[in-house]
Subunit: 262 residues, 2 copies
């Protein structure tokens, strides 16, 4: 999710569970922040809190990568940053093309998180001839006609689809034919791709619907009613919150509901 997702058929990748792979970027982000503050080492407990998971899970995750910690001490921040980056393939440069330069495409092009992680926007592509040449995020928009040549000339293997739903499959087919093997799809459509091509999807509307489901349940419970039954005018009851609520949980680990995705 959310990061929602479309996944690989089956197999565990190189012995690393898919669920673990999905958390590595989270750890990496937390570690990078520690690194910037020049923190030399960190315990599984501290790092887990920063990443929003529990420490047992984190240790188990790291155990798939190797034994990078020191008992009684913790993990060396810099070293771990390097190991995780390497595992994720971020020590190399990944050129990316973004197709569909509307609001969303422009937002993606401007998103700083790409560049800082080894992803380089090689080109922005749009089907609208009027867009061609216009600069977005410092890059001139290229026309769809050039899609194939851009991909092969730059050795691009990752494509981002930010077109309307109707154009997505067609764009996807062209990307795949041109050699793309990983696709991040923002269009609200199920893409069909040949074996060997990975697709992950990010769907705003789906995320909201999942939230609505839980929101509805909260409202139902509040009313003492069985869930889903009452249409109910949403909300009103502000509830307690505060640290007290957080403290009242059962498990040892204070884990925040936030996580994952998409």
């Amino acid at each position: 999710m959310a990061t929602g997702r479309t996944h690989r058929p089956a197999t565990r990748s190189r012995g690393i569970p898919e669920a673990t792979v999905a958390r590595l970027p989270l750890y990496l982000r937390a570690l990078t922040a520690l690194s910037e503050r020049s923190v030399p080492t960190v315990s599984s407990e501290e790092l887990a809190t920063a990443a929003g998971v529990n420490s047992a899970k984190l240790r188990k995750d790291f155990s798939y990568l190797g034994s990078y910690g020191t008992r009684g001490v913790g993990y060396d921040v810099e070293y771990l940053v390097y190991q995780i980056s390497r595992e994720l393939g971020l020590t190399q440069d990944w050129p990316v093309v973004i197709v569909g330069i509307g609001n969303l495409g422009a937002a993606l092009a401007n998103y700083g998180g790409f560049a800082s992680r080894g992803f380089r926007v090689a080109a922005l592509i749009d089907a609208d001839p009027a867009m061609a040449g216009k600069p977005v995020a410092g890059l001139p928009v290229r026309h769809t006609d050039e899609l194939e040549s851009i991909i092969s000339d730059n050795g691009v293997s990752i494509g981002v689809i930010a077109t309307p739903a109707g154009a997505a499959q067609q764009v996807c087919d062209r990307l795949v034919a041109a050699g793309i093997t990983s696709i991040l799809n923002f269009a609200p459509t199920v893409l069909s791709v040949p074996e060997g091509v990975d697709v992950r999807k990010v769907d705003l509307s789906i995320e909201l619907q999942i939230l609505a489901f839980h929101e509805q349940r909260k409202a139902g419970e509040e009313a003492g009613q069985g869930p889903a039954a009452a249409p109910a005018q949403p909300r009103q009851g502000t509830q307690a919150r505060t640290a007290a609520a957080a403290a009242s949980r059962k498990g040892p680990e204070g884990d925040v509901p936030a996580v994952m995705p998409a």
Copy 2:
């Protein structure tokens, strides 16, 4: 989750597994398309294909909602659309506020998928006074000062955070204090919220990193080599993790002592 997914601490919601809830919007979309084409009934096989899952999973998912199909025939499209909509809480109106009207916020505001599913953008909020009053997607941007009153006046329970990472936690705290109980977070940060508040996150950079991981593996296999082997050029960065530490690990792969902060 985008997806990924973000999950609830524990309990199965009303007996419906979280994994099933996350797929309901997918089924709903496929069903809506069939409905628009006036298709009266659909088999689990057909619907599963349209939604990008397998039929056993789909039937199991539907079995949690009730027995809405007809053996030997399939499912009534209209009826199923209604049942799933009701289950997801989409038969009611959900006002939503979007905080942070940059490229991404604007893209979200313009996203048609919201309105069509019972989500109504009640307000766009931004901290920049220069933005105030400017129309985006037909709505005037409101200043952050008004956040609390907007939320209570409109009975908003769902908030979308599209601010820079640095502002996200602060905005989140204000949203929660004002009564918001569900948050969709686009900022690349772990939000901490009190018990009872749901957070789902959508993180572009994380999705790309997961793709990179698999992409790297493909490249490795292609080369007949164990995955991840090639260090590739470690970009910039100094810091030298000692070879000693590197040597002492028992994990896979030999590695390069050099480094790379993000």
